[in-house]
């Protein structure tokens, strides 16, 4: 009896070991080309990590790093919206001997001196998404931007398809003068003629991406403009609380061109029946921008093959009119603050945002 159970145990563990080895072999076989032979350490530095978008992004970055077994150590630091802290994070990570740094430079050019000093010290440093100024090869190894102009063009094309004769557009973006909003506007203007009128003050209505301020701004804009055909916003989920204002004022929610979010998709599902004009088009919100940046950093640090892309292009995601590339998505069982367009599986995102 005893002998046989021991034998079984041994057999099982042998089998498990063999399978584990097998799995490692498979994993090794799947090492991506950007992961080179050299061993290296990598740090992801966030300027401001305090929202769900960032947490999903950070989790995506971590997952990408884990694909490369030659990254022996992975670290993360959050600047908490404090420029001083962001700068000291960058410098101290480099001082600790981390080989490659991926930086979300929220503070913009303010962090460039720190980035430059790290680059001059011979580290691989890849700022991404937020333009920090400077030049590739002089101030940093590589900048992986996101093409917000493309987002604007996608929205513009969709607006054209639903409103061929022109109409009134309301464009909401984040803090005053943020480059993302300006680029998106440029993209829309590339596509849309003068028959499309922006009713907001130029270049965009300032919302700071804050749901409460968005609600105030939208209240004023609805009162001021009798006819708004399309709302364009570069952060869809912050609009969710504000959109019912249209119903309160006895109007239908207009068409919406924006970026995706689970709460927004679910809101559309609940309200589209009662609001005949409520069409929805989203581009992917761009959590996967970090993947491209991490791939570049890893490739440069481990002597791997860099990816082909140098700019992250957010693909179109949902279209309530054609259902192409996807119909509007909603996962009611998961938190509203996740992004179904992200490569990171929805369940993992739910874990990343804490619930």
């Amino acid at each position: 009896m005893k002998y046989s159970s021991v034998a079984k145990g041994v057999a099982f563990s042998l089998a498990a070991t063999v399978m584990a080895f097998g799995a490692t072999n498979i994993a090794r076989a799947e090492v991506p080309s950007w992961c080179g032979p050299k061993k290296a350490t990598l740090a992801l530095l966030d300027g401001y990590g305090g929202n769900s978008w960032r947490q999903v992004t950070t989790a995506s970055g971590k997952q990408t790093v884990e694909l490369c077994p030659n990254i022996t150590k992975y670290e993360y630091a959050d600047g908490q919206g404090d420029t001083q802290k962001s700068i000291s994070d960058i410098k101290s990570m480099a001082a600790k001997g981390v080989d490659a740094l991926v930086v979300f430079g929220d503070a913009g050019p303010a962090v460039l001196p720190a980035i430059t000093s790290v680059f001059k010290a011979g580290k691989v440093i890849v700022p991404y998404r937020v333009n920090v100024g400077g030049k590739e090869g002089t101030n940093y190894s590589k900048f992986i931007g996101s093409s917000f102009v493309d987002d604007g063009e996608s929205w513009g094309n969709w607006i054209k398809s639903i409103l061929p004769k022109g109409g009134n557009l309301l464009f909401l973006s984040g803090p005053a003068g943020n480059s993302q909003g300006l680029d998106e506007l440029k993209g829309m203007k590339n596509v849309l003629g003068p028959e499309y009128v922006f009713v907001n003050q130029a270049p965009f209505a300032v919302t700071n991406w804050d749901p409460a301020l968005t609600q105030k701004v939208l209240t004023a804009e609805i009162a001021k403009n009798a006819k708004i055909d399309v709302i364009v916003s570069d952060f869809g989920p912050s609009l969710v609380g504000a959109l019912p204002l249209f119903s309160k004022q006895g109007k239908s929610i207009p068409a919406l061109a924006t970026s995706d979010g689970n709460s927004l998709g679910c809101f559309w599902n609940e309200n589209q029946a009662t609001n005949p004009d409520f069409k929805l088009f989203t581009v992917a919100t761009g959590n996967d921008n970090v993947r491209l940046a991490v791939q570049w950093a890893v490739a440069l640090a481990t002597k791997g093959v860099p990816p082909k892309d140098e700019v992250f292009k957010a693909p179109a995601f949902e279209n309530s009119v054609t259902g192409q590339p996807k119909a509007v998505q909603c996962r009611k069982d998961l938190p509203g603050a996740i992004y179904l367009s992200s490569e990171l599986p929805a369940e993992d995102q739910a874990k990343a945002v804490g619930k």
Binding site: G49, G50, N51, S52, Q55, A176, Q201, V206, D210, P211, A212, L213, Q215, K216, V217, L218, T219, A220, E221, I222, A223, K224, P237, S238, V240, G241, L245, K248, Q249, G250, S263, P335, G336, A337, V353, G354, K355
Partner: protein
Amino acid sequence: MNASPMTPDALPQPGVITMPVARSFVTVVISTLFLLVVCAIFAPSSVSWGALSGSLPFAAIIAIVGLGQLLVVQQGGFDLSLPGAVSLAVVVATHYPQQNDALLFQAVLLAIAFALTAGFLNGVLVSFFRLNAIIATIGTNALLYGAVFAVSGGVPSITTNLLADIAGGEILEIPNSIFFALAAMAFVSFMLKKTVIGRRFEAIGANPLAGRAAGLRVRIHRMMAYVYAQLLYCMAGVLIAGITREPTAFQGDSLLLPSVAVVVLGGTSLLGGRGYPISTVVSAFFLNQLSQFALTVGVPFSAQTIIQALALGFGIGVYSIRWTVNVRKSTGTKNVEENK
């Protein structure tokens, strides 16, 4: 503390308050009416019912935090823990229930418990350990933000439907948050003006030395100001959680300045003393309408901030002058202030 240097003209201080209509009230109401007329001429849509019902909830929030700040200012203090307190109430009311209506009640109780803790902490530090109010409350604010991060991780969460109905709903087309603000105003006014505890509270704020000489428990009253304030912040936070569908974890940040502004515009002296709850609430409406007007007229974002700052400076200027005259002529508070 010695109770002996009591000046005879310090005692009648509470009696001054029997004036039927405060001058600050008249000033604020006239300014507000003037603003409404300007709105009606230059931006008629900003005074349409649709626009008002959209923006009034935010006026209600400012009014409620303003009432909280008022009570602290009446005791000659400042409460800079407001952003943390409001944000904490917001995240507790959204993260704890996670869209489950059944847990909302417990969540609100939990938020109140946090508010009481923070309030007693502030109060004890300021009143018993005699720390500078600004420093003590900044410290508490940092602690509260620690709690905000512990609860939320800095991530917004969608509010429960029940709370959205209660705080964001409407009765007879009037946003419910207005009723909450009016109830808070009525309660604070009644307590301050018509109850013994309120009269003592106000007397101590006007002149703590005289209050102490009269045998009032100065420290307890001063401490409780911070507790009452926290309860009002908590109420505001829970309302924000209902009004905005997916509030961020830092929703209180933008409320600190308006809270002080409405207290000042409402005519309450920053040195403490007599408080004007109704004027404070009207000022909240004024300030909110002013920003809504700026938005509707479509002035650039930079100018919007400047307009509000100017309004604030104007308010402070007007009352500062009045305050000096008032004190010299009628109350003699200044003598005692100098003795401190």
